[in-house]
């Protein structure tokens, strides 16, 4: 269970999030919606601990992590798929995947996890020795999700995972994200522009506007009216 209470976050001196309060239950699926530049990415970065400064509280399974440095924080079981995918360009696919294992809480069942990942993304197996920077956008996105999986996370943060990716791969990625939640019981927080996918996949939503929570609730309360008011351009 992730509980965020009165969270504000800053890029330098400018405030990107203001008094955000929300919670996601175990095995929950929260979609974070809103126009560009309202603070959706800042919310994920604040949870991982990559903002310049934050105020307020972030509790994961009851443990306060808002003051914990990023590298320790992710060891509580946070898998992060950043905006732009965050693939290290000079690393091979194999090395990028290896990166995922450093934050793992229990190094025991490494082999099982790897099988699971290659089961979800068979294409990665053929690309192991290619440089991350030379992959296509879709391949990079699959790699980014696979890498987050390898941390054996309790909760996965995904920042616009289908942005700029060809339709048939988008479908596959959406399918994987839903399976992570349904079959593996991993809590998902998804930043998304595609309302239809959010409706199909998630159990709850939060709409952010100018760094505030403008609306939130179970996904069936996400009305067309709310979407028009807060997301139409």
């Amino acid at each position: 269970m992730l509980e965020i209470d009165n969270l504000s976050a800053f890029y330098g001196n400018s405030r990107a999030l203001q008094n955000v309060t929300l919670e996601v239950a175990d095995a929950g699926f929260l979609s974070v919606l809103g126009r560009n530049g309202v603070g959706k990415t800042a919310l994920l970065r604040a949870i991982v601990g990559l903002m310049d400064r934050t105020e307020g509280s972030i509790r994961l399974d009851g443990e306060e992590i808002a003051a914990t440095p990023t590298h320790d924080r992710v060891r509580h079981g946070i898998g992060y798929v950043p905006q732009g995918r965050g693939i290290l360009p000079q690393f091979t696919v194999r090395e990028n995947l290896k990166l995922g294992t450093f934050a793992r809480r229990d190094p025991g069942h490494a082999g099982v996890l790897e099988d699971k990942v290659f089961d979800l993304f068979p294409v990665l197996k053929e690309l192991l020795n290619r440089r991350g920077g030379n992959l296509s956008g879709g391949q990079q996105q699959q790699l980014a999700i696979a890498r987050a999986m390898l941390t054996d996370p309790k909760i996965v943060l995904l920042d616009e995972p289908t942005e700029g990716i060809q339709p048939n791969i988008v479908e596959q990625i959406e399918d994987v994200i839903m399976r992570l939640n349904d079959e593996h019981g991993i809590t998902v927080i998804l930043v998304e522009q595609d309302v239809n996918f959010a409706r199909r996949a998630s159990r709850s939503f939060v709409i952010i506007e100018k760094g505030h929570v403008a609306a939130s609730g179970p996904i069936d309360t996400l009305t067309d009216d709310l979407v028009h008011r807060h997301m139409a351009v």
């Binding site: 990023t70 690393f91 290896k98 990166l99 934050a103 920077g133 030379n134 941390t151």
Partner: protein, 289 residues
């Protein structure tokens, strides 16, 4: 033929000294990106450590090398922890700060060890010379060559074949992504800086029997080391090696035909011309970002 071979050996010898002096700098500059102007003084510390160990403790050069590596490395670790870490956001300030550290170190050594030249003895076992294909070469110069080659291989292995190296290369590419996968970037940088500094200390100690040891000796080495690193390409360890030995050979040949001063000037002009047309240095990693 004999003369050519002699020249090649001289060049290799100059090159291995250059490589020794540049290796630590290359690692620090190529990964952390700090332009460490105190590098020469770290070399100087190593040389004085060799002298002090012999003079006050009676430990001679070869057994002292490990101590010197650890001692100077520890000093570098402290410098990174206490000072440089706070300045990574301001690259210009790190230049100034490291230069300041260099000045302070020079004066501290001048006040404690005195301003006169100090001499470190050659290890007696290597005072002689060895004949390679009919050319008489000092055994100690061969030792330097072997040590430089070994240190390069060890460093390459650490960076490209160990988990620590993988973490280091991850932090270099993207600090945020690296830390969101559990890598403690601060610790990786401290360890890397300490390692690079330790290498500088080692270089100073090993070079000390060939050159006179003085508080100002670092100035020359830092310039040489930067020339090697910039020519080789900043993020390329391999480039550093090629560049050190090429500069060694070129310097050796010109010094043979003319003299050391002319050699130095011509080498500098050559480097400036190369950098003018290839600012990234001779070797760069080519990957789409």
């Amino acid at each position: 033929m004999q003369i050519v071979f002699e020249q090649v050996l001289t060049g290799l010898s100059i090159g291995s000294i250059l490589l020794l002096a540049a290796l630590g700098l290359s690692i620090i500059y190529g990964t952390i990106g700090v332009i460490n102007l105190a590098h020469g003084e770290f070399i100087m510390l190593g040389a004085y450590a060799a002298w002090a160990l012999k003079t006050y403790v009676g430990v001679s050069l070869l057994p002292g090398l490990v101590l010197i590596f650890l001692g100077v490395g520890l000093f570098g670790w402290l410098v990174e922890r206490i000072l440089l870490r706070r300045l990574y956001q301001q690259p210009l300030d790190t230049i100034l700060a490291t230069w300041g550290i260099g000045v302070v170190l020079q004066q501290v050594i001048r006040l404690t060890a005195g301003g006169d030249l100090r001499y470190v003895e050659l290890p007696p076992s290597m005072a002689g010379s060895v004949s390679i294909l009919g050319v008489e070469t000092s055994a100690y110069r061969i030792f330097i060559f072997v040590v430089a080659a070994l240190l390069f291989l060890i460093s390459w292995f650490i960076i490209y074949r160990t988990t620590f190296g993988l973490k280091l290369r991850a932090v270099v590419q993207d600090r945020g992504v690296a830390s969101s996968f559990g890598i403690n970037a601060d610790r990786v940088y401290s360890a890397t800086f300490a390692y690079g500094t330790g290498l500088a200390g080692l270089a100073g100690a090993i070079i000390s029997p060939l050159k006179s040891v003085s508080p100002e000796m670092g100035t020359g080495y830092v310039v040489d080391a930067f020339m090697v690193v910039v020519l080789g390409g900043v993020q390329s360890l391999f480039g550093t090696v090629i560049s050190a030995f090429s500069l060694g050979e070129v310097t050796g040949v010109i010094a043979f035909l003319q003299n050391d001063t002319i050699a130095k000037a011509i080498v500098l002009i050559l480097i400036i011309s190369v950098i003018r047309f290839r600012p990234q240095g001779l070797f760069v990693a080519k990957v789409r970002a």
